[in-house]
Symmetry: C2
Subunit: 372 residues, 2 copies
């Protein structure tokens, strides 16, 4: 009977990645409300954090009225520019010889980070959009330092359309850097860019309150469902479901080992399932012996611990205590009850990195859901 029910189930081999664009739009709209009247720009760098820049730009433009986008590289923006014809694209890594033709063709706004880049911009200024200026307030990453700002002429300062900076620790509500950077930003803006529109915060800054919103916020991670305010429950909806079929179910006898380098040994007899997904699909190797795969058990979810090393194409998991785990059943790696944030906790990283890796997977059946 068991044998026949196993044979009857379907045989599948490919993992499936579902992206819920309807919830993405709802996340964006909620964030827009939270930071109004500031302009709610959408950050679509790194292929929209892996979610798919084309789909994200299209849906935010058409369904949510978004007209301001941030990419890291001009290369990224030119792939989506046609989908949002009257929108403004800011390029965070700025302008250089390798990207100049794209700025000339598409009218992107370069975010200028240094005196050298400003000199380059001015040399090629004709026909380029007015740039934004990034100023450094404590992250010690890209941006004009105080001493660089001092050297800017009044004419130079009037060239810009936006002054911006970036917070280092806005995901920790009480972190001292938040007030330090807010003060630095206010002081520098007051001194050098008094009447210029300003932007300090990304998603995480939205939750720090109106002081941090200024004229524009740059919404990335939170739009994609990541909890950027992890000191309290997530207000965003998860938009990612990642599942993969069971290729095989087997008995693992007491004393046997599982996976590369034999890092798991069965101290008792186990039942294992081999699920068709691995680090080649963005399931981090750091989930070895730590991560989980979930299976529907009636109306509930059952948890299957990953055994041994995650390999490139497969994970082995422990289904000893679960029912009806057959070949062809789907194990869930990411879903509403075990989100990217949960997986990141297990993997020792942040959901941003997971989504960036998973999103690049080329072996998924990728489904975009537009209706709930």
């Amino acid at each position: 009977m068991q044998f026949f029910s196993r044979l009857r189930s379907s045989i599948l081999t490919q993992p499936i990645l579902e992206i819920n664009l309807k919830k993405l739009v709802e996340n964006y709209k909620l964030l827009t409300d939270l930071c109004a009247p500031a302009v709610a720009a959408a950050v679509i760098k790194d292929d929209a954090y892996g979610v798919g820049a084309k789909e994200v730009v299209r849906v935010l433009y058409e369904k949510a009225g978004c007209r301001t986008f941030f990419a890291a590289h001009a290369l990224e923006a030119c792939e989506v520019a046609d989908l949002a014809p009257d929108a403004t694209f800011y390029i965070l890594q700025g302008i250089g010889e390798d990207s100049l033709p794209l700025f000339q063709k598409y009218g992107f706004v370069a975010v200028i980070c240094s005196p050298q880049m400003l000199a380059f911009y001015k040399k090629h200024q004709k026909g380029l959009a007015r740039p934004a200026i990034q100023i450094e307030t404590g992250l010690n990453r890209l941006g004009f330092r105080a001493e660089d700002l001092q050297k800017l002429s009044a004419k130079d300062r009037k060239m810009f359309c936006l002054v911006m900076s970036h917070l280092a620790a806005a995901d920790e509500q009480g972190h001292f850097m938040n007030s330090v950077q807010l003060k630095n930003f206010k002081d520098l803006k007051e001194k050098y860019f008094k009447d210029l529109p300003a932007s300090l915060s990304a998603s995480d800054g939205v939750f720090l309150g109106q002081d941090f919103h200024f004229d524009m916020v740059r919404l990335g991670a939170a739009v994609y469902g990541i909890n950027t305010a992890p000191y309290r429950p997530n207000q965003m909806q998860n938009i990612v479901t990642l599942k993969a079929p069971v290729l095989q179910v087997a008995d693992m006898k007491k004393g046997e080992f599982a996976g590369y380098s034999a890092t798991y040994r069965a101290a008792t007899n186990r039942k294992i399932a081999i699920v068709s997904i691995g680090y080649g699909d963005g399931i981090k190797r750091s989930l070895s012996n730590v991560g989980k795969v979930y299976f529907k058990q009636g109306l509930k979810w059952g948890e299957a611990r990953i055994l041994g090393r995650v390999s490139m194409d497969n994970v082995i998991c422990d289904v000893t205590d679960l029912k009806d785990i057959n070949v062809g059943r789907f194990g869930f790696l990411v879903f509403d009850e075990y989100t990217l944030d949960d997986m990141a906790r297990d993997a020792g990283t942040i959901a941003y990195e997971l989504l960036s890796d998973i999103g690049k997977g080329k072996r998924f059946i990728k489904k975009y859901i537009s209706e709930k």
Copy 2:
């Protein structure tokens, strides 16, 4: 003077990934010699470990006479099948409803891992290539268990064109699993598939000696330059150079912090460079405060430690002790003197995972080098 030399340098924003296909072919040929007379199949799953399946299949087919390839998914093989018209493609994850049409169209060889998959294959057998069978010898991943093999009819056993298994710990020369699996494989082959061509080893098994070679080896990681015998110096040539331009050089004053969550604090004045590459390009976050960026210093290389967290688009590194680090200079993340294996050591993972992630990067200027 310093000021002008900095202004004169070029401004660049995009990272560059170079893949040396000539060295890749040399690696493959060396491995072929090491495992002759066994057939040297090339493993091109996960987009050829991130290197680019199209380029790899083309060059191995044309320059090295490779006629046998292994992919994980049929989807992967069909993208390159036309480049190697008379080659055989084995599909490691096997055949299922989601991939059946591709097997029918391209004549791929399914690697059957379970009785259920075999039943599926037989149901759709007409017009399909003869399959291979994966048997389980100790990894506890995909493959027929001893009890499954017992149930196979003599007719079933004659259906296959190849019997194979996979080693769990072949990268550790003295690991007990190697001899355990070798014995299991020999015993099961003798018992059930006496005259069938056999394959046990991937790259790492090549270095364990001729006993492990059988009729075919499946060469993956080592072809791509990874050291799969890390108990001795690498015999393979590095094929990957990854570099990114410095976007900004700045002074970081004593007491200041760098990067997200302020995880690096300067105890003395530092000079920092911000390099235009991040985890969005596959530079793992686990390299935060640990990894290195290298800069040419005349004929030598200078090491710049990564400071603070790796972010999505940038790393901050310490160039205090280096000379002539200007905007537009290239920092090297992977090159012959600091290979993927070295970076993996720093990142707490294996080169396979790094290459898989880096290779999927969409923001590189990607260059394939065919001549040395």
